[in-house]
């Protein structure tokens, strides 16, 4: 029976068996859900297909959301990629993540990963890594299972819900998952996956969830773009050999404690932060009367 209660245990299991974190996660899921390996791979393949469709639709999206607040920015970012300061790869990743998030806002089909509010980050990061490394679909699915394993531990030991832990719980978890997937796709070790997760989450600790009018739009849509890029930097640092001084599981503990101590006004209540700015309040009044 495969069981893990921490990222450390997940890493140790992968090292002991000379396999990936993704494979350990798959084994865990198989034992707990009684699902067959074939069916699990098919489900994940389906998720990846929908993720790619949402990227394609997103970077071409001109639709506005129900509130009219978002829509049409991904295509602008994408078209600017050749003249950008950050370069084509980074801009494409940002456009992809913003695009998926725009698709979410216009009531299109996405894969919550781990949540709908953070749905652009992991797909954008994986697509970026897979294009650079020419990864096979098998490797991409393994990276998705790796990301899922990280998310499972965070969900168990902290939270993936903005209402409980603030945005660090949603976009922070997505960043950790995305960084883990990118390290996996770049041929990194299980230890490097752990450092990437730690680096990604550490630098988003304390992030408020203060969406304007309570909608998954401002600042969520553009934040997906920023966090996708953030996770790429974490993955690159880990692959370069940079280590997190604070071990990943302690970072997750810190995230949990910070989440508990954050005031409820910045935990998805739309009663604080950006939601309470003059413009935020005016938008809320316009949308809901």
């Amino acid at each position: 029976m495969v069981n893990f209660n921490s990222i450390k245990e997940l890493i140790e299991l992968a090292k002991e068996r000379n396999t990936s974190i993704g494979k350990i996660t798959m084994e865990y899921e198989q034992e707990h859900s009684f699902d067959s390996e074939e069916h699990m791979l098919k489900s994940m393949q389906n998720n990846w297909r929908v993720m790619q469709e949402s990227i394609e639709r997103g970077i071409n999206n001109k639709d506005k959301s129900l509130s009219g607040l978002t829509g049409g920015d991904a295509i602008k970012i994408y078209n600017h990629r050749d003249e950008s300061y950050t370069g084509k790869t980074v801009m494409t990743a940002a456009a992809s993540a913003v695009g998926v998030s725009e698709v979410n806002a216009v009531m299109g089909r996405i894969v919550a990963c781990p949540t709908a509010g953070s749905c652009g980050i992991v797909p954008a990061a994986i697509r970026t890594a897979a294009e650079k490394n020419h990864n096979s679909e098998e490797e991409i699915l393994d990276a998705l299972f790796t990301a899922a394993g990280i998310g499972l531990v965070i969900e168990a030991n902290a939270s993936i819900a903005g209402a409980y832990g603030g945005c660090q719980a949603e976009c922070g978890t997505a960043a950790g998952m995305a960084a883990a997937a990118m390290v996996q796709l770049g041929g990194g070790t299980p230890d490097q996956v752990g450092h990437a997760v730690a680096l990604a989450i550490k630098n988003l600790l304390g992030l408020a969830c203060d969406p304007v009018a309570g909608l998954v739009e401002v600042p969520c849509v553009k934040r997906n773009g920023f966090v996708a890029v953030h996770s790429m930097v974490a993955a690159d640092m880990a692959l370069a050999g940079v280590e997190s001084v604070i071990p990943v599981d302690e970072v997750i503990d810190a995230m949990d404690r910070i989440g508990r101590s954050l005031p409820r006004t910045v935990k998805e209540t739309a009663e604080g932060g950006l939601a309470l700015t003059a413009t935020g309040k005016a938008i809320s009044k316009r949308v809901f009367g």
Binding site: N47, V103, A112, P114, L144, A148, E217, V287
Partner: protein, 220 residues
């Protein structure tokens, strides 16, 4: 711990797992409990659902669910128009349910064959739901398993009769709860199973003669 596909997944129509995907599942579950196409539905919204439903498309998702659309069905976006085309008479109204879960909806429904039922439930996060009332019974039902709902008199032996039927059909009980208003009065038994519940199982439950009604609700 939850599963891999709760973390990478579910596939859903945005924008919100609780206010859109969960709402669609809630509507879907309410429709399955009614057990026939919905002719009329008055939907009462409590808390955050009442305040923010338009911006999240919660209304479209709830109606889409009632029409039988899954949370990943792109027709949710157009659910209100589709409902009108199909002659589903719907309305929304706010309700104050005190300290009930902030994302609660109550469906007062009439089916095309005249069946009437009131189902209340909450979208409890990540697209997960819990049905918390059927008519005047306070219950708990997640929709993750096929469920057998039995209405019966609160008296000794009823549970054994029903579990005998399930055993005979090789159906394994995953979770089971019994709710009653008062001792000796009408009660409701909810049994979540690992296997699908076929019509002959439901008929066998009714044939026991010890219950008032039984119906199956598939997993969603």
């Amino acid at each position: 711990m939850r599963g891999v596909f709760d973390i990478v997944g579910p596939i859903m129509i945005g924008p919100s797992s609780s206010h859109t995907a969960g709402a669609a599942r809630l509507g879907l579950m309410a429709g399955k409990i009614l057990g026939e196409p919905v002719a009329k539905a008055e939907i009462l919204l409590h808390g955050s659902f009442a305040r923010t439903y338009r911006g999240h498309g919660t209304d479209k998702a709830l109606i889409g669910g009632l029409l039988g659309f899954s949370p990943e069905d792109e027709r949710i976006r157009d659910a209100l128009e589709i409902a009108r085309e199909r002659g589903l008479d719907y309305s929304f109204a706010p309700i104050d349910l005190g300290d009930a879960h902030p994302n609660t909806a109550v469906f007062v429904m009439t089916g095309v064959n005249g069946r009437q039922i009131t189902v209340g439930g909450a979208s409890i996060g990540g697209g997960n739901i819990e049905v918390r009332s059927i008519d005047t019974f306070q219950i708990a039902l997640t929709g993750q398993y096929p469920s057998l709902i039995v209405v019966h008199r609160d008296k000794p032996g009823v549970i054994r009769e029903i579990s005998d039927v399930l055993a005979k059909h090789h159906v394994n009980i995953a979770f089971m709860r019994v709710f009653r208003r008062n001792r000796g009065q009408q009660a409701m038994m909810i049994i979540e199973t690992d296997e699908e519940l076929t019509e002959d199982i439901i008929q066998d439950c009714r044939s026991t003669g010890v219950i008032e009604n039984a119906f199956a609700v598939p997993a969603i």
